[in-house]
Structures are given as C-alpha cells and as structure tokens.
C-alpha cells in the first residue's frame, strides 16, 4: 500500500513538471519501507547524489523522515517540505525524497550547474586592488559578498521574479546601516514585477527606476564585489540576480559614475585629479562637436584669427555643410564601433586599419572631410569612455548637442545644458536627489565628491540618501 502511494506521488510530481525528459526519479526499497526520489538530472551534482543520498539510504537499516533528515543524508542542506512546494524545490536543483508512510517530503539541495570561476571583469580593470569579479552563478556571487562581511548584520532576502523564469533575486543589505524604508520599498517593487522572465539584471532595471522613460541610468550596476561591498557600507541595497554577473545597487546618484574603485586605492590627490579629468571627459564628449559646429556656422567672429585661418584653409572646397560633415564622421565612427563589437577579435585589427587609415586618411585626402572635423569627433568619441558606464547615454546627448549646435548655435547649447541640469535635478532615486551632492548641495558628502578627502577622513556616511546610521568611522 505504501509503495503504491510513493509511486503515485512520484508520478504526480512528474506530471506537475510536465514529464520533461530531464526529470529523473528513483525508488529505493528497504524492507517494508521505500523512498522515492524526484530530481532534474541536469541541475544536480551527480556524485553528491550517489554518495550523499543514494548510498547512505541503501546502507541504512531503518528509514524514517526524521532519520533521513538528521542522520542518513550526508549533505548540508536538508529541509522538510509540503507536497505543494515540492515541484518548485525540484526546479531549484533539489532532490525531493518521498518516504513511505510520511506525509511530508524532504528536499535536499544538491544544485550544480556549469559556472565559470570569478575573473577580472572586462569593464573594470584595476592597477591596484581586488581583481575578482562576479559570475553568472548567484551562489558564487553571494559568497564573494559574504566573505567581505564576517558579520551577522549582513542580511540576504530572496525574491523570485518571472512567471516562467522564476528567477532568484537576492537582496543584500547591512542591517543597521541600510534604511529599512528603502529595503522594503525595493522588495515591494520587485514583488510587484509581473513579467514572463528575467534573463539578466538589465531586465529589472527599468522596473526599479522611478523614471523609466528617462535616458539616464538610475540604478547602479557593477561587476566587482569590492565595489558592491563599499556601496553597501554606505547604506545602499544590492540586488544579486541569478544568471547575471551584474549586481545592482540602489539608491543611485549621477555622480557615482564619476567615482571608480581605483580612486580609493590610489592617493586621494591623484584620485581627485582623475575625477576632474573624468568630468572634463564627459563635458568634452557631450558638447565639443556641438560647439565646433556652432563656431563654424554661427560664431566665426569669436574664433581666434590664427585658428580661424587654419579651419578655413582645411575646410575649403568640402562638398558637405559643417553639420553634415560632422554627422558623417560621427556616424562613420559609430558604424566602426558597432562592427568592432560584433566582429571576432582577430578581425578587430583589420577594422581599425580600414577605419583609421583608409576611411579617415583617404576621406581627408579626397576632400570629403576636414582634419579638424576628424580630430574633434575622435576627441569626443574617445572622451566618451572616460566614464564607460554612461557611454551610451552620452552618445545620444552628443548627437543632440551636435544638432542643436548646428541649428541654434551657442545659445542653444547653453540653453540645453541648463535644461539638462534642471531635468536631472528633477529626478530622484528612492528618495535621493539624482544630482546630489551638488544639486542640492549636501556639504558632508562633498568629502567624496570631485575633490575627495583621504579615506580615513571620511567620517560620515553619505547624507544624500536615507541610511540608518550616519557615522562611518570615528
């Protein structure tokens, strides 16, 4: 009677899992008792399954739920579950044990899937400082964060999102530092997401943003555990998404993009200088092509005379208007950039030669484009990557400024700049003003602003956003 009940429950579970081809089951009989096991073959550690579950059961003299949970099974994570939860547990890489005569089931977590080892992420190289980066495996990522806080106040909470993907999102924060209000708001926001699936962390970014239609990024994304740990120490909340090497943090401020992990590992004087350079890079990337066009079309009278002569000599006889010329060079660069991203690396050199030498040099010699135009676009495009995380947004702004500079001139550029700042000042991220600590000015946070203080002098946590404890060190 017991055997048929176990078999029935195995069948029921298989049916719940739509009898997928990778769903496996086993039945171990032991005298009058028997144990049924249901699992997904591709999601479990086979060696552990045999050595930690099957063999101990076969070798044991008596079988009961209590004995299995406490003595027989040799793996770390064993939990009692109801029949209704069993299918979900199997999907998460558990082996579910159905014991004859017992109503409850046992779920043994022996999840295993191919995962790469932590390596230095391609977007955040450091000269000095930790080199490990997140991987696609959520457990590895949690470990990478855990080992930076040997403290009970590191709290992890799981939320599952996606009707089909049922993706695990782990919210990590430091109790006593992160604001409860912000943590709860994020959890509520994640729970309210009703979508088919979360394939990568970028799928949930738009759900978390307060202004999803905005061009500007409003959620922090990073690939290195040391940066995430530092953000959490400031009172931010991290979200680790299964299957993604990008960890998200909130609240997010615009100025975070100007800060880099390197800054804290170098001399604060050098770091302050580099931050100024990054800001200049943003400004050059965004406005220089527009200003160049504005000067050529509207304001020749304010160009210094020697420079004007050079420009006039080099642009004489060009078939395009200044605006079309700049647009042409910018688009040419954009095409080359897109091609180089998608081409295999061995073809990258060929693309560079075609782009830089053939198209650029020949274009100038053929009288299609001017050398100052090429220099300006090259400078602006290189400057985009002083803040690589914002490169896409800055590219769009670059084209907008180019268009405005060509149609309205300097007044349009300044006007748009003023509007842009007013617009950014209207954004907020979970109670934090987006342009803080500069607009509004939060004076204590300026110690880690453009000009930073040595880390031992940063006594307070950022005040620009809510956190439970303001004092960082004494």
């Amino acid at each position: 009677m017991f055997f048929s009940d176990v078999k029935q429950r195995i069948q029921s579970l298989k049916k719940q899992l739509n009898s997928s081809s990778d769903v496996g089951s086993r039945l171990v009989e032991k005298g009058s008792a028997c144990v049924g096991m249901v699992y997904i073959k591709s999601m479990i550690d086979n060696a552990l399954f045999v050595d930690g579950i099957c063999k101990p059961i076969a070798d044991s003299e008596q079988i009961s739920l209590q004995l299995l949970a406490t003595e027989i099974i040799k793996t770390a994570d064993v939990a009692e579950v109801e029949m209704e939860q069993a299918a979900d547990k199997i999907l998460l890489g558990n082996v579910v044990l159905i014991i004859s005569g017992e109503e409850k089931l046992l779920a043994v977590d022996i999840l295993k899937y191919p995962a790469r080892i932590p390596s230095e992420p391609p977007t955040s190289f450091v000269i000095q400082g930790p080199r490990e980066g997140f991987t696609e495996d959520i457990r590895t990522n949690i470990t990478l964060i855990r080992r930076r806080f040997y403290n009970k106040n590191l709290v992890l909470k799981d939320v599952f999102v996606g009707r089909y993907s049922n993706t695990r999102i782990t919210i990590a924060f430091l109790k006593g530092i992160a604001s409860k209000e912000v943590v709860n708001e994020i959890i509520e926001k994640l729970k309210s997401i009703d979508t088919d699936g979360i394939i990568d962390s970028h799928y949930i970014i738009k759900h978390l943003e307060k202004h999803p239609r905005s061009l500007f990024k409003q959620v922090g994304s990073m690939e290195k555990p040391d940066i995430v740990a530092a953000k959490m120490l400031e009172g931010r909340v991290a979200m680790i998404i299964d299957g993604s090497p990008i960890v998200l943090t909130l609240p997010f401020l615009f100025f975070e993009e100007v800060q880099a992990s390197n800054d804290y590992y170098n001399s604060y004087i050098y770091s302050s200088f580099i931050r100024v350079v990054r800001l200049l890079g943003i400004l050059i990337a965004v406005v220089i092509p527009g200003i160049y066009i504005a000067l050529r079309v509207f304001h020749q009278n304010i160009i210094p005379i020697k420079f004007l002569i050079t420009i006039t000599n080099t642009t004489k006889g060009l078939p395009f208007t200044p605006f079309l010329e700049m647009l042409f060079i910018s688009l040419l660069f954009q095409i080359l950039y897109e091609v180089s991203l998608r081409l295999p690396s061995y073809l990258g050199l060929a693309t560079s030669i075609v782009g830089a030498l053939i198209l650029g040099d020949t274009g100038v010699k053929a009288g299609l484009i001017s050398p100052p135009g090429v220099i300006i676009v090259a400078l602006a495009k290189i400057a985009l990557y002083t803040v690589p995380e914002q490169a896409y947004q800055l590219t769009i702004l670059q084209y907008l400024f180019l268009f405005i500079g060509g149609s309205v001139g300097l007044i349009g550029i300044i006007g748009f700049l003023v509007y842009l700042v007013i617009y950014l000042a209207s954004l907020d991220s979970y109670g934090a003003p987006y342009l803080a600590p500069y607009a509004p000015r939060v004076f204590p946070d300026l110690e880690d602003g453009v000009f930073m203080k040595p880390t031992n002098s940063m006594k307070m946590r950022p005040q620009s956003f809510k956190n439970a404890n303001k004092t960082r060190q004494k």
Partner: protein, 358 residues
Amino acid sequence: MKQTLSSRQGAILASLLLFANKILVLPSLLYENSKADGFFILIILLGVELCLLALFFNIKTAHPNLSFYDVIKKYIGIVGAKIFYSLLLIYFFFKIMLLFNISYMYFHVQVYIDVAYYLFLFAFLVVMNSSVLRGIRPIGRGAEFFYFFIIGCMFFIILLSFANFDRFPLFFDSPPAQYFKGLFSNLFCFGDMLVLFVLMDKIEFKKKDETKFFKYIGASVVILILIYFMFYSIFGQTSFIHKNAISDIITFSYRFIDLGRLDIIAIVTVMFLSFLQLSIYCYALCECFMKLFSKLSIVYTIVVFDAVFIAVVASSLVNYLTVINLGMNVMGYFAIVLHLILPILVLCFIKFSHRRQQ
C-alpha cells in the same frame, strides 16, 4: 506633492536674480541719465533691494506657512489680493520682456550677426517652458548647480578687467531733482526680491536662515558694485556709449589682449544667467496667474503665457528700445507700487494686527 526650496536655494535664486537687467545696458543708462551719480543711484537702489529682503523676512516670520497671496487676502481682502497679483503678473511679464530683449540685443551684437529674432525666441521659450513644467525645486537645484560657476566667472571678469581708478568719476555733480528722476526711471530694473514674495510658501525658512540670504545676496551686491566701479573706472565719461557693460570691461582690458577674445567668458556667463533668470521669472509669473485663476493648471498657464508673449513679440509693438523706454517711464509707477507700497502696507498690517493681539 508641493515642491519646496531650501533656504539656501531660495537665497541663490534671489542672488542670481539680482544680476537681471543690471550688468549689460543699465550701467550705461545710469550714466546717461545721472552722469557720475549713477553709481550712487545704484547703491541707493541696491539698498531698496535689501530693504525688500528684510520685509520678506518679516512677513515670512509672521506667516511661515501662508503664501503671499493669502497674506494679502488676509489683510486687504480678496479683491485687493487679486489687484496686487494682477499688477505682479504684468510686472513679471514686462520683466521677462525686458530681460529677453536686452539679452537678445547683447547676443546679437556679440556673437550672432545675421540671426533672426525668432531663433532666440524659440530657444528661450523652450527652456523656460520645460523648466517651469519641471517645477521650482529643479529650477532651484539647477541654479544651485551653476551658482559657483557663474559667480566664479564674474570674479574672473572683474579680476581681468582691473582698471585705472584715476578715471573713476566723482559723485554729487547732479542737482537733487536729477537724483529722484534717476531713482524713478531705474527702479524697474530692481526689485528682484519680489520673486521671493511670490515663492514665499515654497521656501523653507527658519529664523537663523536670514544670514544665509544675506551671505548670498551680499556677495551679489558686492560683485555688482565692483562691476559698476570697474565699468566707470575704465570708461569714465564715455560710459554712456558702452551698452554691454560686463563684456566691454573685459574686451577693453588691454593687458590681456594677447589671449584672444576673453569676452567669451562674459558671453557664456550671461547666457547661463539669462536662461536661469528667465525660467525663474516665468515660474513667478505662472504662480501669479494660477493664483488669479485657481482652476487653471500650469500647462494652461504656460500655453497662455507663450501665446501672449509670441503675439506681443510678433506684433512688433515691443522692441528693444520701446521696452527700455517703457521700463524707464510707465513701469516705474508699477515698481513704486510693488516694491515700496505693497510690502510696506502688508508689513504695517502685520505689525498692527500683532499689536492688537498683544
């Protein structure tokens, strides 16, 4: 949710507004009307500005949560409040017109030679409208963001234009009647603190915040005095010819002539200032409009403002010269009522009611 400004942002808005209409054509007009005593008139009118600020503190302290409209309504009645707000509406509209025209003429002379008036109109209206739609808090934060850049540029201009002070004209060479005429005809270019009254309920203000206001506004007053001082020192008796003061003092700085056109610093500074000042004035105008027609939303208000503004500009009734003439004559009466009579009246009522309560 009601948007509010911190006291610092309020102080910065007032501080930036203090430069409105004063750093381009006004120094030359003051000299034209009052000769050397133009500088003295400037100091008196800046004093009036500071008195307005003190009045603002008094009214705000007495009624921390009320808008200026509600304060007037409380003491003078709804009709009085509507009348004063109508006057304020016209006043702000004309301020915008004056600022727009002066800025247009400046940019036209300095950097745009063959560009249509409508290009400027379009550029300014787009920025003003979109800023006002974002609300006063983003405008305040935007002003805060650019504040040190603008003030830094002003100081830089003053430093570069260091002048020969021997040419600074002497005071008191006009008869007293000329003083009053000068005060009357230039009063309209002042009174920028009235914006603070209109934004009264949106500014978070505590008693000790007064110093913050005085600090920021004091800095602007010092800069203005220095600019006028430099201007009169450099140009002396030919001051009336130079209609773009802030640019001219740096353009005629012969010691730095090798560096090229340094007036680009002044041009960029004036551009930033003009956009911010016009946005603030436009917001103040919309506030007045919405108080008068409480059922209208900000979007309708903006549409009405744009329509009227474009109609006035397109009708060619108002141009650079007519705006300046109107400002120096008719608008002087508006300025007397709004800068002097209205705040003093409200203050008297507050004091009277306070005494009666005691």
